[in-house]
Symmetry: C3
Subunit: 651 residues, 3 copies
């Protein structure tokens, strides 16, 4: 049971030193206990090679600590300074078009560059040595938002060199690689690892196996880069947790792999920016929630990142008002900053930290609001943060147990379907999100499980949508569990080498699911196939042939099986629309013995044991009684106003 806390992101280097103490005092007064600093300050920490200027940072930490604040210290490796870049211009990443991604903003480095790797080792080492045991430093953040600005994949000569080494280690011989990739196709065979190129700039698409390995390699380069810093920090700063701040809907590297090296996963939650720029919701939905955010998007990431480091997680950056970076930047409705904060806590966040303390009047993010305005007057969010802080003191802590439902999540599957969507809409995130939201409409709390290393024990319902390829551990977990398991669509449709399995998808042993997918179709918007009485398939549907031990429960209107079941395993032969998913999940939750209720659009609902948490994203009142919820309320009540929060205990 964690006692939730609040924090803030702060840049002492942006402000006159004489203001730091007052800032610290005001933060503490507001009820904040954590403050993240330092992550973009390289040019101030080392203005020229070897000229370390750490004293100002120490003074800042001292001042913050004196006010009772705990510091998260960031490594500054997301923003190498110009003098360093000029020393080794080859450290810059190259985009898929072959253009070098230059200095002048941030994340201007290639994860595969040896020289920059050594520079990161050096600066992290210096910082960790100096501040590792500083009494004010209570945690560390590595770098900042890996993958942001599409920065995982680099097509540089450094990346090519490392990729060839990586391939040679994986395959040992070109012949093995040629077989795994099927390079006999189109005479793509290599006689040596030195012949292999990066998969960009080909005449038509490159081999999907080639792309898949490049995705794996690139993800591992990020993990390796992060690992270097974690090791150094752990060596010099024992007991302080190491954190990284992930972003929303970022799937270019495997967050489970990276999260293994962290003590705490965190993410940067920008509900309005994400709805504007990273959503598949239809336009009318986006307009309806333009000032509150997608009611499921935050929950999804809270649940996902709760899983990536074994349960401990934070919101490192919480949107406090309008931001600068989305296509359109609205202001949140009054109450939403408090709502988002509480929602994170309901999903188990140990800390919710706002970005940022004071709006900067300069630079790229000058239109990004803070808790204070640029003129140091409290901004809109101030009072909501204050209210949240007060309310938090009344909470003993939030107990996050295991949910009844698990969704198996897999970053490589995201890469696979990006490489080979087969129909433009086939995006892994979108597919999983549709299933996640359908579960949420039934009032269920959800855990994510890493497909590579799952623990399915204790769940009553497990979903495995769109999984690229099986692995032994997952199959064993599926065999062991008594949960209802819903597999598909497209799950198990490839081997790990990105080939079609010899027994065809879904490639499960016949005693689990005796089924072969004989052919698949992708549909454009507005072309659907009806499953009479249950809804429709959109975007993707499969023509499956059930073996003798599997039962076809539903047929599509053209007679092709839509829903197949064998024992606890249910197979979805298509991408269900909302109606289909509601009906099918209603049925399967009943089989699983789960009680559900209908959650209206706009209500974000979470249950931890007997505790319920309700968040109203809509512009209408929502009456929880009418939904069949009987509870005693600790905060709010059964009648939930727009942007309001209710916390109760089921009676």
């Amino acid at each position: 049971m964690t006692k939730p806390e609040l924090g803030v992101c702060y840049y002492p280097e942006h402000w006159p030193e004489e203001t730091w103490a007052e800032d610290a005092r005001q933060m503490a007064d507001l009820g904040l206990t954590w403050v993240r600093i330092g992550e973009f300050a390289w040019s101030r920490l080392e203005p020229a090679r070897g000229r370390y200027e750490f004293d100002w940072l120490e003074r800042a930490i001292d001042i913050l600590a004196s006010a009772g604040l705990k510091v998260v210290l960031g490594t500054p490796t997301a923003t190498p300074p110009k003098w360093l870049v000029d020393e080794m211009a080859e450290m810059l990443a190259v985009d898929a078009d072959g253009k070098t991604r230059g200095f002048g903003s941030r994340r201007h480095y290639c994860f595969s560059h040896d020289g920059y790797f050594e520079e990161c080792r050096r600066i992290t080492n210096e910082l960790a040595k100096r501040f590792g045991t500083n009494h004010g430093v209570h945690a560390w953040q590595t770098d900042n938002e890996y993958g942001c600005h599409d920065s995982v994949h680099s097509y540089s000569s450094a990346a090519l060199r490392e990729f060839r080494i990586w391939l040679s280690q994986k395959y040992q011989s070109p012949e093995a690689l040629n077989r795994a990739w099927g390079n006999v196709f189109w005479s793509m065979e290599y006689a040596s690892f030195d012949e292999i190129e990066l998969p960009n700039l080909t005449v038509t698409e490159a081999n999907p196996s080639h792309w898949m390995d490049f995705h794996r390699f690139s993800s591992e380069q990020v993990v390796k880069f992060n690992h270097l810093q974690v090791e150094i920090i752990r060596r010099h700063s024992p007991e302080r947790p190491v954190i990284h701040n992930f972003m929303g809907r970022t799937l270019s590297f495997d967050h489970f792999d990276l999260g293994e090296d962290l003590d705490i996963s965190s993410w940067d939650s920008y509900p309005l920016g994400f709805l504007s720029d990273r959503s598949d919701r239809p336009n009318d939905f986006a307009l309806r929630y333009a000032k509150s955010g997608d009611p499921d998007f935050q929950a999804f990431h809270h649940d996902l990142y709760r899983a990536t480091s074994g349960g401990r997680w934070w919101v490192m950056e919480q949107q406090p008002g309008p931001v600068n970076w989305a296509t359109h930047n609205t202001a949140p409705n009054d109450g939403m900053v408090r709502l988002w904060s509480w929602e994170a806590i309901a999903h188990g966040a140990e800390v919710v930290s706002y970005f940022r303390w004071r709006q900067a009047p300069f630079g790229q993010e000058q239109m990004h609001s803070g808790i204070l305005r640029p003129d140091s007057v409290p901004a809109h969010a101030f009072s909501e943060v204050s209210q949240t802080a007060s309310e938090l003191t009344a909470v003993d802590g939030i107990e996050i147990g295991k949910s009844d439902v698990a969704v198996v999540f897999d970053y490589p599957s995201a890469w696979a379907w990006k490489i080979q969507p087969q129909g433009t809409e086939f995006d892994y995130f979108r597919l999983v999100y549709d299933h996640y939201c359908a579960l949420r409409r039934l009032g269920l709390s959800i855990d994510f499980q890493n497909a590579a290393n799952p623990d399915l024990s204790g769940y009553k319902l497990v979903l495995v949508p769109g999984l690229f390829s099986w692995n032994q551990q997952l199959l064993e977990e599926m065999r062991k569990t008594e949960a209802q398991i819903v597999v598909g669509p497209r799950s198990g449709s490839k081997t790990g080498d990105f080939q079609i399995p010899g027994d065809l998808p879904p490639d499960l042993p016949a005693d689990m699911l005796d089924l072969k997918v004989a052919r698949v179709e992708s549909y454009p918007e507005n072309l659907e196939i009806n499953v009479p009485g249950s809804g429709s398939f959109k975007f993707w549907r499969e023509h499956a042939q059930a073996g003798s031990t599997a039962s076809v429960l539903l047929d599509a209107e053209d007679g092709s099986p839509a829903l197949i079941r064998q024992g606890n395993n249910t197979y979805l032969a298509g991408w269900g629309d909302d109606e289909f998913l509601r009906n099918i999940l209603q049925d399967v939750t009943e089989r699983a013995g789960l009680s559900t209720f209908n959650v209206p659009e706009g209500l974000s609902f979470r249950r931890n044991g007997k505790m319920i948490f309700a968040f109203n994203y809509s512009r209408e009142n929502i009456n929880l009684n009418e939904l069949g919820i009987e509870a005693e309320y600790l905060l709010g009540g059964s009648n939930l106003a727009p942007s309001d929060v209710s916390i109760g205990k089921l009676t």
Copy 2:
């Protein structure tokens, strides 16, 4: 009278040698008689420079031949292996943005590269020597799908060098070129051929004459590249026809020029992929036919490629199920594979060959279905191929005579209007296709005639839509024929140098058509000009002034002439919408003494003499009697179910 046959594309190098014999037996049992192999196998035929490994191919041919199959052997020049590309990296094409188009897929070569040209000579020579008189080899295919993946135009240094030589040979002096291009405009004059650049990467558009010559040059480079192989094959492999497989809606090189070197033209017919990705049809139409294909698109290409090599033609690759490469990949409705096969035969195909025998579980096309599934079980198409094969044995052969109607077709016109559309919708294919479909709606069978070298004798109606520029032979043919000739819009609007003719468009002698187009307009979608009582012009309309010997038959609502006639020559002063084209063509077919009937959307209809062929692309029954067709049916009957075929003899 040809006896139609069926075939298949097969890649023995993709499968264990021990399975070849069974594959061959199964092909033969299914009723296939032709098998195309070898066209992407360079890395297996020559794994390193000079190390020829042809034995496996010979064994494969022997096995196929033993089963009674006739082999089409492909030259592997569309996929040069990595060792070769690494020897001469300059052989790679460069795109219009200046980016090199690298190794890793296919068609990675520049047609103008000397070194690669020599390599193609070498490998073709080796193959032709070894297999030229092999008893199993009954035909050859050169390379594969020239122009696919936008591969005709290369902006490489090799292309620049060859282009300068080509220009110097064409114009002999820079002064002549300057005059022909009008380079005095914007001070673009050259003092030497060595000053001339490729027309890409200019500040605003380059001179259209410059672009036009670059298109001509690039087309000729393809023809020259193909010619090399044809010559070698003919030398070493007498009596075996040489074939190339064209693609749909590919106009980047002159297929008539290339077809002259072939014995047989063929094309790769992917009805569903083409409707998804290469169609101007409105969205509701595309959805309606998403699982059957555009009812006119295949017929168009059948008719076009029947013309490119003097009448002999095949379908080399017939879509057998969902493919991998379109934006969305649907499965054909049951029966469509048979329908497409019969439709090709009705248009005179000697062979319909399916792509491919077994779906490959690896590589870029792993989602491309075959006649067999990857697990060797018959796929959906299998039974339809089988049915088609059985039905074919009952047919004596198809007699393709001359049609009553000819459409004059011209690849350079496609280049011209791509260079200078004047309104975004002005695409040559789209214009010709609209006229072609309007003729089809009247139940007419159509021939294409090469504008550069036409024979108009025997036709009753000739259409010349959007012809860039006249040539003497065409004018003479037009003078000689007694057919009704429909010219325009935009025909004759340029000289061969891409200048406006001195006497203005349509640039016909006054005794043929006494008319001047004084100005033209391009219209956006939804801006049309009505021609009262006849329909409307869309996209393009002209303000023409008729001389004394020409009669204005129709005016647009603003008083500008819409339809002008002089003797047999009728001029269309705009791009007619469906209604306009139907009305005008109805009128002119009556003048031509042609009988017509109204073909509903969704019915593909073809007549060869007394024989009629009807193909139902729609989801509704079509009753041929109700359309006024009286026939005795050899296959099917007057009531045509969806996806069904009827073949009859008019009574």
Copy 3:
């Protein structure tokens, strides 16, 4: 009071010398008095380095002068010939993607290249020496359409070198630059000016201050380039006015700065091309006016360019029929060429010059119509030009006084909001244009005032929409004037360094407007906030806090102030829709004591003192009496047919 004249653009080098005299005679007969020549003729004036061939040009000028025509002689620097480019390939501009913008069209040079700068000095000097006092040369044009084809910004090494010098001169020390740009943000600090890069090709957006200086620098390079030529011409050709021809909706350089060096501003008015390609109007509007043009667009530019050189201005190129360069190229309705000509004159044009005399049958603009067709027959515009010329002889001249209303216009603001739109629709031109059109709907005549150097005396109403940053002179003018001043939205929201002002926007002294904008929002299409009773804000709205001396006149429906007033100063806290702007401007014009009337869509109306000018862009008759206008008409009458012109004197 100027006596308006007509002219034409002519290219003697395009036509046989024997036709020049007849062309000249016909021009004069038509009533033209000016002819522009020479601006693209470098390859004919100097076919090889140092080989000047000016005799033909002298003969052409003599012939034109003999016919009574006054020549505007253009410098040919927009089209350097190939031999020159080949001598110094580094003179070519580089686009933001790093691609060199090559030879083969026009404007292929980088404004920052030393070598080309010297070449321009040389050729201008030679021309000015030879023709400076030629009796036929009555004016000069420098270069052609600076900025056209996005040619202001170059990312070449020459531009980088000059930019670093420019920055070092502006800031004197890297520390000053770092402070001004806020480079501490993201460790972007520079230790030397030589470390600074151009702002393109960064990983995510570059610092807005960096971009802003690059825009300023690039604009100044254009001014410097033009200044060189002006100086040379003035030295050798006294008394002849120097002109440049601006384009429509081109904001990439500061036309006020450049205009200071000119005697006469001119612009190239292509109403149909601009409506097709440079308009924010909704699609139905664009279709409605596809053949007449946007009824406000020409007036806007007439008024704007009247301001850029102190009042003297021309239309240098007037569209005479369909053009070649827009997405769709319609023909003007009959009468529109006359209408456009008269409209320019009503706004004070001294000369309206048509582009071009005879349509060229070759080159990039072969589809651009002229006064003559390519076959020398009068084209459609001929008779309208003739009519206009006749009517002009009856006019004594047009008196353009000061208008009652001024709009403060600022090119740097256009750069600022392009750099940081914050919502995709926030375009400075669009914002100002919306306000301008709303003023026009009230029948008002409008002046533009340069924000950098305004004179607000004598106006009754001044609008300052979207002004990036204040300057002292503007503030002083605002204090001095008794006009009603309407400020906002977004005005004064930055310091000159592109930082948020310390006192927050709108950054006005409290005694002028006691107001702080606490936060802002950008809205997508279809998300609006209602201001009850007055209309709505779209795209952009602000949450402002009024101090004690300011009054909130209107609130938005969420309670945030929408309209704030203090004394004469009124603040708009958002981007008003049409209804809002009409209501607010109606109110403020009444306060200003201005009489207004409702101008219907499609009517272009202009008043100079008692004289009124009405132009009917619509397809319906417009009755001026019904609008409440009582006048005696000199041309036309109160009933205005489509495409017709009425000129009257108010009674």
